[in-house]
């Protein structure tokens, strides 16, 4: 059945960052609108999807939420290969996690996909009394490295939808239709199922 105007786009997105920075919580807040104080540790990676509409286009994010422990690093290429977007997450109350985030940025830059949309998220913004990394520090690092930056809180949902929306908005401009990790299809061939979001944690 022909549809008018709207395009559907699928975009692979990977969440990277230190253990406990809040990758799974951000994904869960975005996909299901939920938050748990104790989010089960991710092993390997969890897979979730969520669809957003930006102007005339709907973007279906296929989110790979990866495990944060250092030794899982060697598995990461499998998840970021062919990704259209990456969110690198750190915990504003933990300076080690900020250092780790920088390493992820460097690694992704080395992969040399110039079209990759990269976001830096300083998570746990609700814990400002325990803050170790000032927002300005995150902001200036992001600017120097061509990422966009937001402080987020999966707990209060501050900036969570905004973060994904901003990525969705940057995608079509950043990436031609043929690029890997993203595909454009028209409505007639779209296979969007009846469930708008799935969670395979």
């Amino acid at each position: 059945m022909a549809t008018t105007g709207a395009n559907h786009m699928q975009a692979k997105l990977v969440l990277l960052g230190d253990m406990g920075a809040g990758k799974s919580s951000l994904a869960l807040r975005f996909v299901k609108g939920q938050f748990f104080d104790y989010q089960e540790s991710t092993i390997g990676a969890a897979f979730l999807t969520q669809t957003l509409a930006v102007n005339e286009t709907t973007v279906k994010f296929e989110i790979w939420d990866t495990a944060g422990q250092e030794r899982y690093h060697s598995l990461a290429p499998m998840y970021y290969r062919g990704a259209a977007a990456a969110i690198i997450v750190y915990d504003i109350t933990n300076s080690d996690s900020f250092g780790r985030a920088k390493k992820w940025v460097q690694e992704l830059q080395r992969q040399g996909n110039p079209n990759l949309v990269m976001a830096l998220a300083g998570n746990k913004a609700d814990l400002s009394s325990k803050r170790k990394i000032e927002a300005e520090e995150g902001q200036s690092y992001a600017e120097e490295n061509g990422l966009f930056f937001m402080e987020t809180s999966a707990k209060t949902s501050q900036n969570v939808n905004e973060l994904f929306y901003e990525i969705a908005r940057k995608l079509p401009k950043a990436q031609p239709a043929q690029a890997s990790g993203m595909s454009l299809t028209d409505g007639s061939t779209s296979r969007l199922g009846p469930a708008k979001s799935t969670c395979c944690a």
Partner: protein, 412 residues
């Protein structure tokens, strides 16, 4: 035993978004495009219940009925074991020479009587060990008893005393994961449960500092605690599991062993399910995306608890090849559906449903043993050796191999 939910689970209000389209509207649009006119099917009623190991479940009526059947079968299987006990003598399965691990290696030296017992035990274990007997049988067949007997009796308490109050990167990571290990299980989530889990993981991280703590071990150790009941017994099961039963290096730095397993698994998939393997490659689905978690948690995070324990029954008696056989069986059970999938997301959904909904252990194990077929531990050890150079090369290329890692010396 269980009650139907009268109320729907709370529905989150759609987020108000700056860009105007709320999720509900989005769904309606998609439905319209797909020309769905009829009213949406109502969500099937969910039933709340606890499984054999007290995990809280919310399942469909069909699944609830399967879980009840499984509970009945577990009781029936208990009667079979007691009958064997009456016939063969109490603790007949505790003699080291009849464990399946002994098969292959010493066949020529086994007496006919012993051989018969070995086969009987293997068959019985494949049909399931009753939960009450698991601690005894596992300790015996896995080699945990033997390992423990070579250490001083006070080993575990001495180890705990020695590490008391010490802080390492491993202990910090363990502390971080305690509350994130089966957070909805009533006992694991209790103060006692978390304390016991902490002790065995911390003790193990000092026992083997090369492994230290690897995420995934938290789920494995928690299941061991639920089965073994006694903390010290669970500790020894963890030790024998990591040191003897599993292949080398599966939890060590860089997850070197895990990389090898993934390659071996892909090779087996190509041999056992060639058509599907090709198809999945065509749609760029790397099976490691899903199997990594299966191998690192030994299915504890993906299969229902009794199904996981049935896999572990075989794991402790016959060795780690069962992990490959079960992983293949999961693909086999959904072969047609997977073959028809056109996208990575669909494949993930099918495999997620196939594992999380595998409430009937016999259904899965029947496919594993009858359709996938048995493969010997030796053949997998051989295949692992073949794959090792490629993994070492790959990790070296990425600069992720620590020169001090003595991976080449791995024997299994």
């Amino acid at each position: 035993m269980y009650s139907a939910l009268n109320t729907e689970p709370p529905v989150e209000p759609p987020p108000t978004t700056a860009w105007g389209v709320e999720r509900g509207e989005m769904q309606d649009r998609i439905d319209t495009k797909r020309n769905v006119r009829s009213s949406r099917p109502r969500k099937p009623t969910k039933v709340k219940m606890q499984d054999v190991y007290s995990f809280n479940l919310e399942v469909s009526r069909e699944e609830a009925s399967i879980i009840h059947q499984v509970k009945e079968r577990v009781k029936e299987q208990g009667r079979v074991w007691w009958a064997m006990e009456a016939k063969n003598g109490a603790g007949w399965y505790l003699q080291p020479e009849i464990f399946a691990q002994a098969e292959g290696y010493f066949v020529s030296s086994l007496s006919l009587v012993t051989m018969t017992s070995t086969l009987q035990l293997k068959k019985l274990i494949r049909s399931g060990i009753p939960p009450l007997l698991r601690p005894r049988v596992w300790s015996a067949v896995s080699g945990a008893n033997k390992r423990r007997s070579s250490a001083p009796e006070s080993y575990y308490s001495d180890l705990l005393a020695a590490v008391e109050g010490r802080e390492t990167p491993a202990t910090r990571q363990i502390d971080h994961d305690l509350g994130r290990t089966f957070p909805t299980h009533p006992w694991i989530d209790s103060a006692d449960g978390r304390a016991a889990l902490r002790r065995i993981l911390v003790a193990y991280s000092f026992r083997d500092s090369r492994v230290g703590y690897c995420q995934g071990m938290n789920f494995v150790a928690a299941m061991l605690l639920l089965v073994m009941k006694k903390e010290e017994d669970a500790f020894w099961m963890l030790a024998v599991l990591v040191e003897n039963v599993l292949f080398d290096d599966c939890y060590s730095e860089n997850l070197y062993g895990c990389h090898v397993e993934q390659r071996v698994f892909k090779d087996l998939l190509r041999k056992k399910l060639p058509r599907l393997a090709v198809r999945l490659e065509e749609i760029e689905f790397d099976v490691s995306l899903v199997t990594t978690e299966w191998f690192l948690c030994l299915f504890a995070k993906s299969l229902p608890s009794e199904t996981t324990m049935r896999v572990w029954d075989v794991l402790f008696n016959e060795g780690a090849s069962i992990l490959f056989i079960v992983a293949l069986a999961i693909f086999k059970m959904r072969e047609e559906e997977l073959f028809a999938a056109k996208h990575v997301g669909e494949v993930m959904k099918i495999l997620h449903d196939a594992t999380h909904g595998a409430y009937d252990p016999d259904e899965l194990l029947k496919v594993a043993f009858e359709k996938v077929g048995v493969m010997s531990l030796q053949s997998i050890v051989k295949q692992r050796k073949k794959e090792q150079p490629a993994v070492i090369a790959e990790l070296e290329r990425r600069g992720q191999l620590n020169p001090s890692d003595s991976v080449q010396s791995s024997s299994r």
